[in-house]
Protein backbone atom coordinates (compact mmCIF):
# COMPACT_ATOMS: atom_id res chain seq x y z
CA UNK A 1 0.00 0.00 0.00
CA UNK A 2 1.11 3.47 -0.74
CA UNK A 3 1.25 5.83 2.13
CA UNK A 4 -0.19 8.57 0.01
CA UNK A 5 -3.13 10.11 1.74
CA UNK A 6 -6.43 9.05 0.28
CA UNK A 7 -8.43 12.22 0.19
CA UNK A 8 -11.89 10.73 -0.03
CA UNK A 9 -11.34 8.55 3.01
CA UNK A 10 -14.17 8.77 5.46
CA UNK A 11 -13.33 9.62 8.98
CA UNK A 12 -13.00 6.77 11.36
CA UNK A 13 -16.30 6.20 13.08
CA UNK A 14 -16.61 8.57 15.94
CA UNK A 15 -19.93 7.48 17.32
CA UNK A 16 -18.61 5.19 19.99
CA UNK A 17 -17.33 7.37 22.77
CA UNK A 18 -15.05 4.75 24.24
CA UNK A 19 -13.46 3.64 20.96
CA UNK A 20 -14.56 0.07 21.35
CA UNK A 21 -12.69 -1.63 18.55
CA UNK A 22 -15.75 -3.50 17.46
CA UNK A 23 -16.41 -3.50 13.75
CA UNK A 24 -19.66 -1.86 12.83
CA UNK A 25 -22.27 -4.12 11.28
CA UNK A 26 -21.79 -3.97 7.53
CA UNK A 27 -25.36 -3.10 6.74
CA UNK A 28 -25.29 -0.24 9.20
CA UNK A 29 -22.14 1.06 7.63
CA UNK A 30 -23.73 0.75 4.22
CA UNK A 31 -26.76 2.63 5.40
CA UNK A 32 -24.59 5.40 6.79
CA UNK A 33 -22.83 5.76 3.44
CA UNK A 34 -26.14 5.62 1.66
CA UNK A 35 -27.78 8.19 3.90
CA UNK A 36 -24.97 10.65 3.24
CA UNK A 37 -25.93 10.61 -0.44
CA UNK A 38 -28.72 13.12 -0.84
CA UNK A 39 -29.64 12.00 -4.35
CA UNK A 40 -29.97 8.42 -3.16
CA UNK A 41 -32.14 9.46 -0.25
CA UNK A 42 -34.33 11.42 -2.62
CA UNK A 43 -34.66 8.28 -4.73
CA UNK A 44 -35.60 6.27 -1.69
CA UNK A 45 -38.25 8.79 -0.66
CA UNK A 46 -39.59 8.91 -4.22
CA UNK A 47 -39.79 5.14 -4.45
CA UNK A 48 -41.46 4.95 -1.05
CA UNK A 49 -44.09 7.41 -2.24
CA UNK A 50 -44.67 5.34 -5.38
CA UNK A 51 -44.83 2.07 -3.48
CA UNK A 52 -47.10 3.75 -0.93
CA UNK A 53 -49.33 4.84 -3.77
CA UNK A 54 -49.46 1.29 -5.10
CA UNK A 55 -50.34 -0.14 -1.70
CA UNK A 56 -52.60 2.51 -0.22
CA UNK A 57 -53.68 4.47 -3.27
CA UNK A 58 -56.69 2.33 -4.14
CA UNK A 59 -57.99 2.75 -0.58
CA UNK A 60 -57.47 6.48 -0.57
CA UNK A 61 -58.77 6.97 -4.08
CA UNK A 62 -61.30 4.20 -4.53
CA UNK A 63 -62.12 4.55 -8.20
CA UNK A 64 -62.25 1.72 -10.72
CA UNK A 65 -59.67 2.70 -13.33
CA UNK A 66 -61.81 1.01 -15.97
CA UNK A 67 -64.97 2.97 -15.23
CA UNK A 68 -66.01 5.59 -17.66
CA UNK A 69 -66.37 8.62 -15.45
CA UNK A 70 -66.53 11.59 -17.76
CA UNK A 71 -66.38 12.63 -21.38
CA UNK A 72 -63.45 11.03 -23.21
CA UNK A 73 -60.32 13.11 -23.58
CA UNK A 74 -61.21 15.68 -20.95
CA UNK A 75 -58.16 17.77 -20.12
CA UNK A 76 -56.59 17.72 -16.65
CA UNK A 77 -58.69 19.47 -14.05
CA UNK A 78 -62.04 18.82 -15.71
CA UNK A 79 -64.72 18.28 -13.07
CA UNK A 80 -62.19 17.40 -10.43
CA UNK A 81 -60.37 14.84 -12.49
CA UNK A 82 -56.90 16.09 -11.71
CA UNK A 83 -55.16 14.35 -14.57
CA UNK A 84 -58.11 14.35 -16.97
CA UNK A 85 -59.56 11.34 -18.78
CA UNK A 86 -58.38 9.07 -21.55
CA UNK A 87 -59.90 8.18 -24.90
CA UNK A 88 -62.68 6.17 -23.24
CA UNK A 89 -63.40 8.71 -20.53
CA UNK A 90 -61.58 6.74 -17.83
CA UNK A 91 -60.00 8.61 -14.95
CA UNK A 92 -56.27 8.89 -15.58
CA UNK A 93 -55.45 9.43 -11.92
CA UNK A 94 -57.14 6.16 -11.05
CA UNK A 95 -55.21 4.56 -13.89
CA UNK A 96 -51.89 5.90 -12.61
CA UNK A 97 -52.65 4.73 -9.07
CA UNK A 98 -53.80 1.24 -10.02
CA UNK A 99 -51.28 1.01 -12.81
CA UNK A 100 -48.42 1.46 -10.36
CA UNK A 101 -49.17 -2.00 -8.99
CA UNK A 102 -48.75 -3.87 -12.24
CA UNK A 103 -45.78 -1.75 -13.23
CA UNK A 104 -44.00 -2.36 -9.95
CA UNK A 105 -44.89 -6.04 -9.93
CA UNK A 106 -43.56 -6.55 -13.44
CA UNK A 107 -40.48 -4.52 -12.56
CA UNK A 108 -39.79 -6.51 -9.41
CA UNK A 109 -40.68 -9.92 -10.84
CA UNK A 110 -38.68 -9.46 -14.01
CA UNK A 111 -35.72 -8.14 -12.02
CA UNK A 112 -35.98 -11.14 -9.72
CA UNK A 113 -35.92 -13.52 -12.68
CA UNK A 114 -33.03 -11.59 -14.18
CA UNK A 115 -31.06 -11.80 -10.97
CA UNK A 116 -31.85 -15.43 -10.21
CA UNK A 117 -30.89 -16.66 -13.67
CA UNK A 118 -27.92 -14.33 -13.76
CA UNK A 119 -26.56 -15.41 -10.39
CA UNK A 120 -27.19 -19.08 -11.06
CA UNK A 121 -25.36 -19.02 -14.36
CA UNK A 122 -22.63 -16.68 -13.20
CA UNK A 123 -22.04 -18.49 -9.92
CA UNK A 124 -21.78 -21.92 -11.47
CA UNK A 125 -19.55 -20.65 -14.26
CA UNK A 126 -17.30 -18.69 -11.96
CA UNK A 127 -17.08 -21.36 -9.31
CA UNK A 128 -16.67 -24.56 -11.30
CA UNK A 129 -14.75 -23.08 -14.21
CA UNK A 130 -13.68 -25.58 -16.86
CA UNK A 131 -16.29 -26.90 -19.25
CA UNK A 132 -19.15 -25.67 -17.06
CA UNK A 133 -17.92 -22.13 -17.40
CA UNK A 134 -17.23 -22.57 -21.08
CA UNK A 135 -20.72 -23.88 -21.74
CA UNK A 136 -22.55 -21.37 -19.58
CA UNK A 137 -20.65 -18.41 -20.93
CA UNK A 138 -21.30 -19.55 -24.48
CA UNK A 139 -24.99 -19.69 -23.65
CA UNK A 140 -24.72 -16.23 -22.16
CA UNK A 141 -23.08 -14.99 -25.29
CA UNK A 142 -25.80 -16.59 -27.34
CA UNK A 143 -28.42 -14.59 -25.48
CA UNK A 144 -26.33 -11.50 -25.89
CA UNK A 145 -26.34 -11.52 -29.65
CA UNK A 146 -30.11 -11.51 -29.92
CA UNK A 147 -31.70 -8.09 -29.71
CA UNK A 148 -33.53 -8.37 -26.39
CA UNK A 149 -36.63 -6.48 -27.42
CA UNK A 150 -37.12 -8.52 -30.58
CA UNK A 151 -36.70 -11.73 -28.63
CA UNK A 152 -39.07 -10.55 -25.92
CA UNK A 153 -41.58 -9.60 -28.59
CA UNK A 154 -41.42 -13.09 -30.06
CA UNK A 155 -41.76 -14.66 -26.61
CA UNK A 156 -44.74 -12.53 -25.62
CA UNK A 157 -46.28 -13.19 -29.00
CA UNK A 158 -45.84 -16.87 -28.44
CA UNK A 159 -47.36 -17.14 -25.00
CA UNK A 160 -49.86 -14.27 -25.26
CA UNK A 161 -49.30 -11.25 -23.07
CA UNK A 162 -50.05 -11.53 -19.35
CA UNK A 163 -48.20 -10.19 -16.33
CA UNK A 164 -46.50 -13.55 -15.94
CA UNK A 165 -45.40 -14.02 -19.53
CA UNK A 166 -44.22 -10.43 -19.81
CA UNK A 167 -42.17 -10.72 -16.62
CA UNK A 168 -40.65 -13.98 -17.76
CA UNK A 169 -39.91 -12.67 -21.24
CA UNK A 170 -38.16 -9.61 -19.81
CA UNK A 171 -36.23 -11.72 -17.34
CA UNK A 172 -35.18 -14.23 -19.96
CA UNK A 173 -33.75 -11.60 -22.28
CA UNK A 174 -31.95 -9.46 -19.71
CA UNK A 175 -30.02 -11.75 -17.37
CA UNK A 176 -26.77 -11.85 -19.31
CA UNK A 177 -25.17 -8.76 -17.77
CA UNK A 178 -25.87 -10.05 -14.27
CA UNK A 179 -24.43 -13.43 -15.17
CA UNK A 180 -21.20 -11.86 -16.36
CA UNK A 181 -20.98 -9.76 -13.25
CA UNK A 182 -21.69 -12.71 -10.97
CA UNK A 183 -19.12 -14.80 -12.76
CA UNK A 184 -16.46 -12.11 -12.41
CA UNK A 185 -17.19 -11.80 -8.70
CA UNK A 186 -17.09 -15.55 -8.18
CA UNK A 187 -13.85 -15.84 -10.10
CA UNK A 188 -12.34 -13.22 -7.89
CA UNK A 189 -13.67 -14.42 -4.56
CA UNK A 190 -13.06 -18.14 -5.07
CA UNK A 191 -9.33 -17.43 -5.01
CA UNK A 192 -9.46 -15.56 -1.72
CA UNK A 193 -8.00 -17.11 1.40
CA UNK A 194 -11.20 -17.68 3.30
CA UNK A 195 -12.71 -19.56 0.40
CA UNK A 196 -9.61 -21.67 0.06
CA UNK A 197 -9.85 -22.20 3.78
CA UNK A 198 -13.44 -23.32 3.58
CA UNK A 199 -12.52 -25.71 0.79
CA UNK A 200 -9.58 -27.09 2.70
CA UNK A 201 -11.76 -28.03 5.65
CA UNK A 202 -13.95 -29.94 3.24
CA UNK A 203 -17.03 -27.76 2.95
CA UNK A 204 -19.43 -28.90 0.28
CA UNK A 205 -19.40 -26.97 -2.98
CA UNK A 206 -23.00 -25.89 -2.60
CA UNK A 207 -22.22 -24.53 0.83
CA UNK A 208 -19.21 -22.62 -0.44
CA UNK A 209 -21.12 -21.21 -3.36
CA UNK A 210 -24.24 -20.07 -1.57
CA UNK A 211 -23.07 -19.46 1.96
CA UNK A 212 -19.47 -18.40 1.57
CA UNK A 213 -19.01 -16.73 -1.79
CA UNK A 214 -22.46 -15.40 -2.57
CA UNK A 215 -22.78 -13.17 0.51
CA UNK A 216 -19.43 -11.66 -0.34
CA UNK A 217 -20.35 -11.22 -3.97
CA UNK A 218 -23.66 -9.65 -3.01
CA UNK A 219 -22.88 -5.93 -3.09
CA UNK A 220 -22.40 -5.50 -6.84
CA UNK A 221 -25.25 -7.94 -7.46
CA UNK A 222 -27.58 -5.91 -5.29
CA UNK A 223 -26.70 -2.82 -7.27
CA UNK A 224 -27.28 -4.68 -10.49
CA UNK A 225 -30.66 -5.84 -9.15
CA UNK A 226 -31.68 -2.25 -8.51
CA UNK A 227 -30.84 -1.34 -12.06
CA UNK A 228 -32.60 -4.44 -13.36
CA UNK A 229 -35.83 -3.18 -11.84
CA UNK A 230 -35.54 0.05 -13.78
CA UNK A 231 -34.71 -1.74 -16.99
CA UNK A 232 -37.64 -4.11 -16.55
CA UNK A 233 -40.07 -1.25 -16.04
CA UNK A 234 -38.82 0.44 -19.19
CA UNK A 235 -39.02 -2.86 -21.02
CA UNK A 236 -42.62 -3.41 -19.99
CA UNK A 237 -43.43 0.07 -21.23
CA UNK A 238 -41.73 -0.64 -24.54
CA UNK A 239 -43.67 -3.85 -25.07
CA UNK A 240 -46.89 -2.07 -24.15
CA UNK A 241 -46.07 0.67 -26.61
CA UNK A 242 -45.95 -2.02 -29.26
CA UNK A 243 -49.31 -3.23 -27.93
CA UNK A 244 -47.83 -6.41 -26.55
CA UNK A 245 -49.64 -6.22 -23.24
CA UNK A 246 -52.65 -7.39 -21.32
CA UNK A 247 -55.47 -4.85 -21.56
CA UNK A 248 -57.10 -6.31 -18.45
CA UNK A 249 -54.28 -5.15 -16.25
CA UNK A 250 -53.92 -1.46 -15.83
CA UNK A 251 -50.27 -0.54 -16.15
CA UNK A 252 -48.47 2.64 -17.11
CA UNK A 253 -47.09 1.04 -20.20
CA UNK A 254 -50.60 0.02 -21.22
CA UNK A 255 -51.78 3.58 -20.66
CA UNK A 256 -49.08 4.98 -22.91
CA UNK A 257 -49.55 2.34 -25.57
CA UNK A 258 -53.32 2.62 -25.78
CA UNK A 259 -53.38 6.41 -25.59
CA UNK A 260 -50.63 6.90 -28.11
CA UNK A 261 -52.92 7.07 -31.15
CA UNK A 262 -54.77 9.89 -29.40
CA UNK A 263 -51.70 11.85 -28.40
CA UNK A 264 -52.43 14.83 -30.63
CA UNK A 265 -55.81 15.37 -28.99
CA UNK A 266 -54.98 14.43 -25.43
CA UNK A 267 -51.29 14.83 -24.75
CA UNK A 268 -51.91 14.39 -21.04
CA UNK A 269 -52.98 10.79 -21.37
CA UNK A 270 -49.53 9.86 -22.68
CA UNK A 271 -47.51 12.42 -20.77
CA UNK A 272 -48.57 11.55 -17.22
CA UNK A 273 -47.93 7.80 -17.38
CA UNK A 274 -44.64 8.65 -19.10
CA UNK A 275 -43.69 10.91 -16.21
CA UNK A 276 -44.75 8.22 -13.75
CA UNK A 277 -42.46 5.71 -15.44
CA UNK A 278 -39.68 8.25 -15.57
CA UNK A 279 -39.95 9.05 -11.87
CA UNK A 280 -40.04 5.41 -10.86
CA UNK A 281 -37.04 4.45 -12.95
CA UNK A 282 -35.29 7.58 -11.73
CA UNK A 283 -35.97 6.63 -8.12
CA UNK A 284 -34.73 3.10 -8.65
CA UNK A 285 -31.59 4.23 -10.42
CA UNK A 286 -30.82 6.86 -7.80
CA UNK A 287 -31.10 4.13 -5.20
CA UNK A 288 -28.93 1.89 -7.35
CA UNK A 289 -26.33 4.63 -7.60
CA UNK A 290 -26.44 5.22 -3.89
CA UNK A 291 -26.07 1.52 -3.17
CA UNK A 292 -23.23 1.36 -5.61
CA UNK A 293 -21.35 4.06 -3.74
CA UNK A 294 -22.28 2.68 -0.35
CA UNK A 295 -21.44 -0.92 -1.15
CA UNK A 296 -18.36 -0.33 -3.21
CA UNK A 297 -15.69 -1.94 -1.05
CA UNK A 298 -12.99 0.14 -2.59
CA UNK A 299 -14.64 3.31 -1.50
CA UNK A 300 -15.54 1.98 1.89
CA UNK A 301 -12.09 0.73 2.79
CA UNK A 302 -10.50 4.04 2.07
Amino acid sequence: MTDQVEPSAPAAPKLEPDFVPEVEKPWLQTWRMFAKNRAALFGLVLLSVIVGMAVLGPTLYPADPYDIVWAPQSPPGTEGFILGTDYLGRDLLAGIIYGSRATLIVGAAAALITIVIGILVGALAGYYRGWVEELLMRITEFFQVLPPLLLAMVLVLLFSPTLVTISIAIGVVSWTATARLARAEFLRIRELEYVKGARSIGARNSRIIWLVILPNAAPPLIVSAAFAVGIAILFEAGLSFLELNDPNIMSWGYMIGSNRPYVLESWWAVTFPGIAIFLTVLAVSLIGDGLNDALNPRLRQR
Partner: protein
Protein backbone atom coordinates in the same frame (compact mmCIF):
# COMPACT_ATOMS: atom_id res chain seq x y z
CA UNK B 1 26.98 27.60 7.50
CA UNK B 2 30.22 26.46 6.12
CA UNK B 3 28.71 23.95 3.75
CA UNK B 4 28.08 24.74 0.11
CA UNK B 5 24.58 25.96 -0.67
CA UNK B 6 21.96 23.23 -0.98
CA UNK B 7 20.57 22.30 -4.38
CA UNK B 8 17.12 21.78 -2.94
CA UNK B 9 15.91 23.41 0.20
CA UNK B 10 12.58 22.75 1.88
CA UNK B 11 11.52 25.23 4.51
CA UNK B 12 8.48 25.20 6.79
CA UNK B 13 6.48 23.15 4.30
CA UNK B 14 2.83 22.55 5.17
CA UNK B 15 0.39 20.50 3.13
CA UNK B 16 -3.30 20.32 3.89
CA UNK B 17 -6.15 18.14 2.67
CA UNK B 18 -9.84 18.90 2.73
CA UNK B 19 -11.62 16.01 4.33
CA UNK B 20 -15.30 15.36 4.76
CA UNK B 21 -15.08 16.62 8.32
CA UNK B 22 -12.53 19.35 8.18
CA UNK B 23 -8.99 20.07 7.10
CA UNK B 24 -6.15 17.66 7.75
CA UNK B 25 -2.63 18.99 7.87
CA UNK B 26 -0.66 16.02 6.55
CA UNK B 27 2.70 17.78 6.48
CA UNK B 28 3.57 20.42 8.97
CA UNK B 29 6.56 22.58 9.52
CA UNK B 30 8.90 20.43 7.47
CA UNK B 31 12.36 21.71 6.64
CA UNK B 32 15.42 19.99 5.23
CA UNK B 33 18.19 20.62 2.72
CA UNK B 34 19.58 18.47 -0.06
CA UNK B 35 23.20 19.07 -1.00
CA UNK B 36 24.53 18.54 -4.52
CA UNK B 37 25.51 14.95 -5.09
CA UNK B 38 24.13 13.92 -1.76
CA UNK B 39 21.76 11.03 -1.08
CA UNK B 40 19.22 12.05 1.50
CA UNK B 41 17.06 9.38 3.05
CA UNK B 42 13.59 10.14 4.30
CA UNK B 43 12.38 7.41 6.55
CA UNK B 44 9.20 6.68 8.42
CA UNK B 45 6.26 4.35 8.64
CA UNK B 46 3.48 4.21 6.08
CA UNK B 47 1.32 7.30 6.21
CA UNK B 48 3.94 9.53 7.78
CA UNK B 49 3.95 11.94 4.86
CA UNK B 50 7.16 10.81 3.12
CA UNK B 51 5.48 10.34 -0.24
CA UNK B 52 3.51 13.53 0.16
CA UNK B 53 6.78 15.35 0.67
CA UNK B 54 8.04 13.94 -2.60
CA UNK B 55 4.83 14.89 -4.39
CA UNK B 56 5.03 18.38 -2.94
CA UNK B 57 8.49 18.86 -4.35
CA UNK B 58 7.15 17.75 -7.73
CA UNK B 59 4.09 19.92 -7.13
CA UNK B 60 2.03 16.77 -7.77
CA UNK B 61 -0.11 16.98 -4.65
CA UNK B 62 -3.63 16.27 -5.95
CA UNK B 63 -5.47 19.58 -5.95
CA UNK B 64 -8.19 19.66 -4.85
CA UNK B 65 -8.58 18.31 -2.19
CA UNK B 66 -4.93 18.88 -1.30
CA UNK B 67 -2.90 22.07 -1.25
CA UNK B 68 0.48 23.35 -0.21
CA UNK B 69 -0.55 25.53 2.66
CA UNK B 70 2.72 27.18 3.42
CA UNK B 71 6.48 27.11 3.28
CA UNK B 72 8.98 27.14 0.48
CA UNK B 73 10.67 24.60 -1.72
CA UNK B 74 13.70 26.11 -3.37
CA UNK B 75 15.54 24.52 -6.24
CA UNK B 76 18.80 26.42 -6.57
CA UNK B 77 17.09 29.31 -4.93
CA UNK B 78 13.96 29.23 -7.13
CA UNK B 79 10.80 28.84 -5.09
CA UNK B 80 8.86 25.98 -6.65
CA UNK B 81 5.81 26.65 -4.51
CA UNK B 82 5.33 29.96 -6.24
CA UNK B 83 6.47 28.88 -9.71
CA UNK B 84 4.05 28.99 -12.62
CA UNK B 85 2.56 25.77 -13.96
CA UNK B 86 4.56 26.15 -17.14
CA UNK B 87 7.78 26.51 -15.23
CA UNK B 88 6.97 23.54 -13.05
CA UNK B 89 6.39 21.41 -16.12
CA UNK B 90 9.80 22.47 -17.42
CA UNK B 91 11.35 21.34 -14.17
CA UNK B 92 9.50 18.04 -13.86
CA UNK B 93 11.27 15.18 -15.53
CA UNK B 94 14.03 17.54 -16.51
CA UNK B 95 15.60 18.99 -13.40
CA UNK B 96 13.77 16.92 -10.84
CA UNK B 97 12.68 13.40 -11.67
CA UNK B 98 10.86 10.84 -9.68
CA UNK B 99 10.73 7.07 -9.47
CA UNK B 100 7.64 5.57 -7.94
CA UNK B 101 7.02 2.69 -5.69
CA UNK B 102 4.88 0.54 -7.99
CA UNK B 103 6.73 -0.28 -11.19
CA UNK B 104 3.84 -2.56 -12.13
CA UNK B 105 1.36 0.28 -12.45
CA UNK B 106 3.55 3.31 -12.95
CA UNK B 107 4.06 2.71 -16.65
CA UNK B 108 1.26 3.37 -19.09
CA UNK B 109 0.12 -0.05 -20.29
CA UNK B 110 -0.84 1.07 -23.79
CA UNK B 111 2.44 2.60 -24.94
CA UNK B 112 5.79 0.92 -25.55
CA UNK B 113 8.52 1.58 -23.02
CA UNK B 114 10.55 3.21 -25.76
CA UNK B 115 7.77 5.69 -26.45
CA UNK B 116 7.43 6.48 -22.82
CA UNK B 117 11.13 7.17 -22.36
CA UNK B 118 11.41 9.07 -25.61
CA UNK B 119 8.44 11.22 -24.71
CA UNK B 120 10.40 12.89 -21.92
CA UNK B 121 13.40 13.85 -24.02
CA UNK B 122 11.27 14.95 -26.91
CA UNK B 123 9.42 17.20 -24.54
CA UNK B 124 12.35 18.71 -22.69
CA UNK B 125 15.12 18.58 -25.24
CA UNK B 126 13.10 18.82 -28.42
CA UNK B 127 14.75 15.76 -29.94
CA UNK B 128 13.45 14.27 -33.14
CA UNK B 129 11.59 11.01 -33.01
CA UNK B 130 14.58 9.09 -34.22
CA UNK B 131 17.04 10.75 -31.85
CA UNK B 132 14.67 10.28 -28.95
CA UNK B 133 14.43 6.63 -29.76
CA UNK B 134 18.18 6.32 -29.87
CA UNK B 135 18.34 8.04 -26.53
CA UNK B 136 15.76 5.62 -25.15
CA UNK B 137 17.88 2.68 -26.28
CA UNK B 138 20.94 4.26 -24.79
CA UNK B 139 19.13 4.77 -21.49
CA UNK B 140 17.87 1.21 -21.46
CA UNK B 141 21.40 0.07 -21.96
CA UNK B 142 22.53 2.36 -19.17
CA UNK B 143 20.11 0.74 -16.74
CA UNK B 144 21.45 -2.65 -17.80
CA UNK B 145 18.49 -3.95 -19.68
CA UNK B 146 19.65 -6.64 -22.08
CA UNK B 147 18.89 -6.28 -25.78
CA UNK B 148 17.63 -2.72 -25.47
CA UNK B 149 16.98 -2.45 -29.23
CA UNK B 150 14.32 -5.09 -28.88
CA UNK B 151 13.01 -4.03 -25.50
CA UNK B 152 12.36 -0.55 -26.67
CA UNK B 153 9.44 -1.86 -28.72
CA UNK B 154 7.91 -3.82 -25.89
CA UNK B 155 4.95 -2.94 -23.74
CA UNK B 156 5.22 -2.75 -19.96
CA UNK B 157 3.20 -5.93 -19.46
CA UNK B 158 5.89 -7.85 -21.31
CA UNK B 159 8.51 -6.91 -18.72
CA UNK B 160 9.15 -8.18 -15.19
CA UNK B 161 8.78 -5.88 -12.21
CA UNK B 162 12.51 -5.34 -11.88
CA UNK B 163 12.77 -4.55 -15.56
CA UNK B 164 9.98 -2.09 -15.27
CA UNK B 165 11.64 -0.33 -12.41
CA UNK B 166 14.78 -0.12 -14.52
CA UNK B 167 12.69 1.45 -17.23
CA UNK B 168 11.32 3.92 -14.70
CA UNK B 169 14.86 4.79 -13.67
CA UNK B 170 15.89 5.18 -17.27
CA UNK B 171 12.93 7.42 -17.84
CA UNK B 172 13.74 9.50 -14.79
CA UNK B 173 17.39 9.92 -15.66
CA UNK B 174 17.05 10.44 -19.37
CA UNK B 175 17.20 14.23 -19.10
CA UNK B 176 20.01 14.08 -16.55
CA UNK B 177 18.10 15.73 -13.72
CA UNK B 178 19.80 17.47 -10.85
CA UNK B 179 17.54 15.84 -8.31
CA UNK B 180 16.11 12.36 -8.38
CA UNK B 181 13.39 11.41 -5.97
CA UNK B 182 13.08 7.68 -5.47
CA UNK B 183 9.92 6.83 -3.56
CA UNK B 184 10.28 3.34 -2.13
CA UNK B 185 11.71 2.16 -5.45
CA UNK B 186 12.13 -1.44 -4.37
CA UNK B 187 9.26 -2.12 -2.02
CA UNK B 188 7.29 -3.98 -4.60
CA UNK B 189 10.21 -6.06 -5.82
CA UNK B 190 11.83 -9.34 -4.86
CA UNK B 191 14.72 -9.09 -2.44
CA UNK B 192 17.37 -10.07 -4.99
CA UNK B 193 15.99 -7.57 -7.44
CA UNK B 194 15.99 -4.92 -4.75
CA UNK B 195 19.74 -5.23 -4.35
CA UNK B 196 20.24 -4.97 -8.10
CA UNK B 197 18.18 -1.81 -8.28
CA UNK B 198 20.14 -0.21 -5.46
CA UNK B 199 23.41 -1.18 -7.09
CA UNK B 200 22.15 0.42 -10.26
CA UNK B 201 21.15 3.60 -8.48
CA UNK B 202 24.50 3.80 -6.80
CA UNK B 203 26.37 3.28 -10.04
CA UNK B 204 24.29 5.83 -11.86
CA UNK B 205 24.76 8.33 -9.12
CA UNK B 206 28.47 7.94 -9.27
CA UNK B 207 28.36 8.60 -12.99
CA UNK B 208 25.95 11.52 -13.00
CA UNK B 209 26.38 13.08 -9.55
CA UNK B 210 22.63 13.49 -9.31
CA UNK B 211 21.38 14.34 -5.86
CA UNK B 212 18.93 11.72 -4.64
CA UNK B 213 16.10 11.81 -2.18
CA UNK B 214 15.48 8.23 -1.21
CA UNK B 215 12.21 7.61 0.49
CA UNK B 216 11.87 4.37 2.38
CA UNK B 217 10.60 2.78 5.52
CA UNK B 218 13.59 0.53 5.70
CA UNK B 219 16.44 1.73 7.91
CA UNK B 220 18.65 -0.92 6.37
CA UNK B 221 18.35 0.69 2.98
CA UNK B 222 19.11 4.07 4.49
CA UNK B 223 22.23 2.69 6.11
CA UNK B 224 23.46 1.37 2.80
CA UNK B 225 22.51 4.18 0.49
CA UNK B 226 22.20 7.51 2.21
CA UNK B 227 24.58 10.04 3.62
CA UNK B 228 22.00 11.90 5.60
CA UNK B 229 18.60 10.94 6.90
CA UNK B 230 15.39 12.69 7.84
CA UNK B 231 13.05 10.74 10.12
CA UNK B 232 9.41 11.67 9.71
CA UNK B 233 6.47 10.88 11.87
CA UNK B 234 2.90 11.95 11.20
CA UNK B 235 3.82 14.66 8.77
CA UNK B 236 6.58 16.14 10.83
CA UNK B 237 10.30 15.83 10.90
CA UNK B 238 11.32 14.28 14.22
CA UNK B 239 14.98 13.87 13.59
CA UNK B 240 17.51 14.91 10.96
CA UNK B 241 21.10 13.70 11.04
CA UNK B 242 23.98 12.21 9.10
CA UNK B 243 23.34 8.51 8.73
CA UNK B 244 26.20 7.30 10.89
CA UNK B 245 25.30 9.77 13.60
CA UNK B 246 21.70 8.65 13.61
CA UNK B 247 22.50 4.97 13.66
CA UNK B 248 24.92 5.38 16.47
CA UNK B 249 23.12 8.01 18.43
CA UNK B 250 19.44 8.21 17.70
CA UNK B 251 17.84 10.79 19.93
CA UNK B 252 14.15 10.58 19.24
CA UNK B 253 12.33 7.60 20.75
CA UNK B 254 10.73 6.96 17.37
CA UNK B 255 14.09 6.86 15.62
CA UNK B 256 15.33 4.56 18.28
CA UNK B 257 12.36 2.33 17.69
CA UNK B 258 12.92 2.28 13.98
CA UNK B 259 16.53 1.29 14.38
CA UNK B 260 15.69 -1.32 16.96
CA UNK B 261 13.42 -2.95 14.41
CA UNK B 262 16.47 -3.84 12.35
CA UNK B 263 18.75 -5.78 14.72
CA UNK B 264 22.00 -5.73 12.77
CA UNK B 265 21.93 -1.96 12.64
CA UNK B 266 22.28 -1.62 16.38
CA UNK B 267 25.40 0.18 17.38
CA UNK B 268 26.55 -2.45 19.85
CA UNK B 269 25.15 -5.78 18.86
CA UNK B 270 24.75 -7.59 22.14
CA UNK B 271 25.58 -11.21 22.44
CA UNK B 272 22.20 -12.16 23.55
CA UNK B 273 20.06 -10.34 21.08
CA UNK B 274 17.16 -8.56 22.63
CA UNK B 275 13.80 -9.64 21.38
CA UNK B 276 12.83 -7.96 18.13
CA UNK B 277 11.38 -4.67 19.08
CA UNK B 278 8.20 -3.36 17.78
CA UNK B 279 6.78 0.10 18.14
CA UNK B 280 3.39 -0.30 19.76
CA UNK B 281 0.31 1.32 18.25
CA UNK B 282 -0.29 2.70 14.80
CA UNK B 283 0.29 5.95 13.01
CA UNK B 284 -2.60 8.27 13.74
CA UNK B 285 -5.08 8.72 10.93
CA UNK B 286 -4.77 11.91 8.97
CA UNK B 287 -7.81 13.51 10.49
CA UNK B 288 -6.26 13.29 13.91
CA UNK B 289 -3.21 15.25 12.88
CA UNK B 290 -2.45 18.74 13.97
CA UNK B 291 -4.26 18.55 17.27
CA UNK B 292 -1.43 19.91 19.31
CA UNK B 293 1.00 17.93 21.31
CA UNK B 294 3.56 15.49 20.03
CA UNK B 295 1.84 13.12 17.63
CA UNK B 296 4.07 10.28 18.76
CA UNK B 297 3.11 10.74 22.39
CA UNK B 298 0.34 8.11 22.43
CA UNK B 299 2.84 5.46 21.36
CA UNK B 300 5.82 6.77 23.25
CA UNK B 301 6.94 4.82 26.29
CA UNK B 302 8.66 7.89 27.68
CA UNK B 303 5.86 10.34 27.02
CA UNK B 304 5.29 13.07 29.56
CA UNK B 305 2.36 15.36 30.19
CA UNK B 306 4.07 18.08 28.28
CA UNK B 307 4.36 15.84 25.25
CA UNK B 308 0.60 15.57 25.05
CA UNK B 309 0.05 19.30 25.27
CA UNK B 310 2.77 20.96 23.30
CA UNK B 311 4.57 20.19 20.12
CA UNK B 312 8.32 20.01 20.74
CA UNK B 313 10.38 22.37 18.53
CA UNK B 314 13.40 21.08 16.65
CA UNK B 315 16.63 21.57 18.47
CA UNK B 316 20.18 20.94 17.37
CA UNK B 317 21.95 18.31 19.44
CA UNK B 318 25.10 18.00 17.36
CA UNK B 319 26.32 19.63 14.13
CA UNK B 320 23.82 18.66 11.45
CA UNK B 321 21.75 16.70 13.94
CA UNK B 322 18.32 18.06 14.85
CA UNK B 323 15.69 16.41 17.02
CA UNK B 324 12.16 17.46 17.93
CA UNK B 325 11.54 15.92 21.34
CA UNK B 326 10.99 17.23 24.85
CA UNK B 327 13.33 14.58 26.15
CA UNK B 328 16.22 16.59 24.75
CA UNK B 329 15.27 19.47 27.01
CA UNK B 330 15.00 17.09 29.92
CA UNK B 331 18.45 15.68 29.30
CA UNK B 332 19.85 19.14 28.86
CA UNK B 333 18.18 20.37 31.95
CA UNK B 334 19.47 17.38 33.83
Amino acid sequence: MNTPSPILSVADLAVEFDMRDGVARVIDDLSFDLMPGETLGIVGESGCGKSMTALSIMRLVPMPPGRIAGGEIRLDGENLVAASDVRIREIRGNEISMIFQEPMTSLNPVYTVGDQIAETVRLHEGLSKRDARDRAIEMLRAVAIPAPEARVEEYPHQLSGGMRQRVMIAMALTCRPRVLIADEPTTALDVTVQAQIFDLLRDLKEQTQTAIILITHDMGVIAEMAQRVVVMYAGRKVEDAPVDELLLNPKHPYSQGLIACVPHLQAVPTVERPPLMEIPGVVPSVSELGRGGCPFAPRCAQAMDRCRQQMPPPSTVAPGHQVACWLIDETRAA
